[in-house]
């Protein structure tokens, strides 16, 4: 028993602590759990995953945005793990392009297998023909001729089968080697070091200025020739304008449509 206060009145303190009230404690826990549940069910803006377990309409799924393949309409540039210093243009992957590549790879594999199978089926057909021809053997002149052909064909079947199989295997190996990323990938045959303009070489600049080396500029892929969509340093050479200015930089007026 205690008395508190500055005056000499008797004071008995009564203090309420929710920790001591089991029912209140349980109630608070229930409310807290319910509110946390509501928070997870609510759709969120910005970062946050929300409820990943339930199938509610508010649940953000893995294919949060964009199409049947998912994540097709996401951010134009990835926000994580991006190399911001590199000047290399970022190649954005999406599920559709991945799927397309997978389908193409499968088609290539199937094509090689199909060729090998065609070799085998051809061999089997040959066996059939040979056995048919042999059945005619021993029945008249015509039959004897056919029997002779059958005997020759019978000897040629096995080499033909082997040739067919080898051809299939070689074709599949070639396809694999020439496929994108393979050792003989044709996309990487170009040597850009030979194609790029060496601005530090006066000899190269002279060749361009004199029109001995042609530099064509166009915005259209694979555009060749000197159509109206292509500009080259020859246009400058014809008009007597120096392609390189005194600072040694390539003339800025080389762009399409500015001549």
């Amino acid at each position: 028993m205690s008395s508190t206060g500055s005056d000499d009145a008797l004071r008995i303190p009564i203090e309420i602590k929710t920790d001591d009230l089991e029912e209140i404690r349980e109630l608070i826990n229930e409310i807290t759990d319910a509110e946390e549940g509501v928070q997870t069910l609510k759709p969120r803006r910005g970062k946050g995953t929300g409820d990943t377990s339930s199938r509610s309409a508010f649940t953000p799924s893995s294919e949060e945005s964009g199409g049947i393949f998912g994540q097709m309409g996401g951010q134009a540039m990835p926000t994580k793990g991006r190399d911001t210093k590199s000047k290399t243009p970022f190649q954005r992957e999406n599920e559709f392009s991945k799927l397309k590549d997978q389908v193409q790879q499968q088609e290539q594999k199937l094509g090689a297998n199909q060729k090998a199978m065609m070799g085998l089926s051809g061999a089997a057909q040959s066996f059939d023909y040979v056995s048919t021809l042999r059945r005619f053997g021993g029945k008249g002149a015509m039959s004897s001729t056919l029997g002779a052909i059958g005997a020759i064909a019978g000897k040629a079947v096995m080499p033909l089968v082997m040739i067919g199989q080898i051809t299939g295997i070689v074709m599949s190996m070639l396809d694999a080697a020439l496929a994108p990323g393979g050792p003989w990938d044709r996309r990487f045959r170009r040597d850009y070091s030979k194609e790029s303009l060496r601005l530090d070489s006066l000899a190269d600049k002279q060749e361009i200025t004199f029109g001995r080396r042609v530099v064509r500029v166009t915005t259209i892929d694979s555009q060749r020739g000197t159509s109206s969509q292509v500009r080259s340093n020859l246009d400058y050479v014809k008009t007597g304008v120096e392609v390189f200015d005194i600072n040694g930089t390539f003339n800025k007026g080389m762009g399409v449509g500015t001549i």
Partner: protein, 157 residues
Amino acid sequence: MSLDLTKQRLSSAEERVNRFIDQNLLLWATEEILLPGQTNIASSISQRASEALSLEKSGFMKVDLKWDFRSEEGAPIHFFLEYGTRPHRIEAKGRDNGGADALHWTGPSGESRFAKVVQHPGTEGKNVVATIKEERTPALRERIIKETQNFMEVSSI
């Protein structure tokens, strides 16, 4: 009003419950402890003693049961009743000091007794307020639980 609601939603469930209890504790303690306690004191001691019992808010979720029962001279009778008294000497004030020349009391057999000075053996403490707190606190707890549950049900709706 909307600011209050926003604040309430932002705070945790425990804070909301505690605030609700704190805001209403004085009222509930008055109904569950003070009024029954005053009835007890009025029947066991006196009406004036019961009116000296009160409640004061002393902090967050805290109230004090205060008893300030004094004699006309200002003696703290509440302490004497609550905790008892030690053996002590009682002397008549005397007519010169505005009192009587002799003390008077009734003996065990009902006869009047007079003396100028007595040695009082002391009294045992009655623990009036402590007993009220002990007896009535469970009712206050029940009230808090009931009111809080009602409040949370209503606020959740």
